[in-house]
Symmetry: C3
Subunit: 267 residues, 3 copies
């Protein structure tokens, strides 16, 4: 798959996403639930957060995809995730894993690694999280990466091969791999790091993309690209983080084939 | 009550709401707590989310009204609701029930139906939720309605008579009934479905309206009308969902007697 | 310390905060997590919400400061706070206590008073909360103060001496004391009371300030001043509460030495 072919597929994924409006079940952290739901709505998908373990299992089979984000993992969420993931898998729905702050925090690191056996279609994290998830030692501090994106490529490939899915390593340049090939997306803007939950929202959008793309690698490339191009658009309108948050939602609504073709820097 | 009389009462409810600034105790879902609180503040009411079961019972008697929204019902929230609702009732404070996603999800459907015995002043939901809450079979998918608003009128009337309150069925045209008469509000805008928690915020505002109107039907008509007119105002300023969310809060602050009289389409 | 000296220190605290980018562990209420995180990011700090008791204890020792806000205290959060506070103290990290709605609600009042033995660097609350926390009788209603700021000065001094820290009493004029001297900050804007979580975000920023100022009084003065001046800036751009929320985040990003020196009204 050449970068040109990959970009054509990004456009097709966005078109199919808006036609299908996939319903994404989000088991995500408390800080970003509102922004994640609004990001899904803005890009053309539909969100639902169903959190009681009984209902989470029931709903994971009804929704089109599942997002698991462990940012504020707590005693109530653990059983919900433990029941929703197998339910999604049994119903053949793709699921995305966002290993927020895995590495420095013990409980979530063990828990999140245990989820890998359920083969997420896409894993999305910064370099430190991906390195730590793979069992290696990184330099993360809370939700921030202490490692350059490139340093996580070995870990990312290892995880992709282990799960049979794709891994999206986010950073100034996003790297996406299925363990065989590596694509990069050089779009994005530093303001994306000044708003909470931007990466978390990207994980939810990756789940929506996985519904309309049989290939996890292509879904992950689509999520990375459309999100990062929207992030650049937003920065043209809003130079400060408060208004940037809003402009990013507007840009997710505005993003289309023409904007993707004009601005994407996939390689 | 003619539509003209009803509109005059909508205006009076808004004026009284801003004079009284009712304190609304919200036991609502995790996704929308911030937006709900801001919507109450914007329209001129006051929010409080008190969630520990002991405190929820204590606070429900102090606040002016209670909102129960089961969007992310979990094991911690169930006892809080079970204790707060009787406490509000004992203190003669109105409460509003928002049966989010009742129907496809088993646990919340049984739980929410069990609350009907406590006679909510207002029930607010989309057609599928209202149909399912009444014990009939609807076509909802997560938080979206699969049924036209009119299809829920029988269920809505049944629920209104059962509870002695009013039922607000939201949709492109909102329907409000007390089981005897039906009013419609034709205001609103499609962008209201592109922001998470818009309907949930309306439920909270309905609780505020119920504080300043002894008649649940009038309170529900007021909540429907002022919210939908604000939704139209916001759409004139913000054509995309991110900025629309903010414009809607601004419009809830801006809405007044003149704007209501000029724009309301009550019948 | 003269007001002129205090203002110079406010400027220095802001400069050091942006250079150091302190990581603030927030155990805060569900309504304001997103806004609190965005306020920390906007001003130049970094947020993290880690909520499982095991991880909260672990993380409190890694982060630079801890915020405890009891706005939606629940059964899951109590043990997290009980373990995080001693962990932060053992690691010599400052912590800030925001006693939201202490007074009318029994459980949180007892719980929050029990935390005073762990000597928060800064306590931030409105007059009713500060009076109630000190064991006296106030006039609060939910999150609103029923008492004038000056009425809390005795309670504030008592708490400051008891804890060895500083107390920030917020209101139309903020009062800050260490039990020996009292400073006032006359900046701010009424729109700050029309957006949920504004005060809660100030508490988080106070924790960030406490990282870069060895003196809790100076840290509290800095948090009060930079926040209130930002609140005035925002009101120049956004006259209604929805857009004001966004403008306030932008103003926290924009605030700098020049704006502080031009607008601060410290006495």
């Amino acid at each position: 798959m050449s970068p040109t072919t990959a970009l054509a597929e990004v456009v097709d994924v966005l078109v199919r996403l808006r036609a299908r409006r996939p319903l994404v079940h989000c088991l995500t952290n408390h800080v970003v639930k509102n922004f994640t739901a609004n990001a899904l709505l803005a890009v053309g998908a539909a969100p639902a957060m169903v959190e009681h373990p009984d209902e989470a299992a029931e709903f994971a089979a009804m929704a089109d995809a599942l997002l698991v984000n462990v940012g504020t993992l707590d005693a109530a969420q653990i059983p919900a995730i433990e029941r929703a993931v197998p339910s999604a898998r049994a119903a053949r729905k793709p699921w995305v894993l966002d290993p927020v702050a895995v590495g420095p925090l013990t409980l979530r690191t063990h828990f999140t690694r245990s989820l890998l056996a359920h083969r997420p279609a896409i894993i999305r994290g910064n370099a430190s999280e991906i390195i730590a998830l793979s069992g290696r030692t990184g330099a993360g501090r809370g939700v921030d990466s202490g490692d350059p994106t490139e340093a996580a490529l070995g870990a990312a490939s290892h995880l992709a091969i282990q799960t049979g899915g794709a891994v999206l390593v986010t950073g100034a340049i996003d790297h996406i791999t299925d363990g065989k090939v590596v694509f990069t997306c050089a779009n994005g803007h530093p303001l994306m790091t000044r708003v909470t939950g931007v990466g978390c929202a990207q994980g939810a959008i990756a789940a929506a993309c996985a519904v309309v793309s049989a290939n996890p690698l292509q879904a992950a490339i689509a999520a990375a690209t459309l999100f990062a191009v929207a992030g650049e658009l937003a920065a043209q309108r809003a130079p400060r983080p408060g208004s940037y948050q809003i402009a990013l939602l507007d840009a997710l609504d505005e993003i289309d084939a023409g904007l993707l073709r004009a601005h994407a820097r996939l390689a």
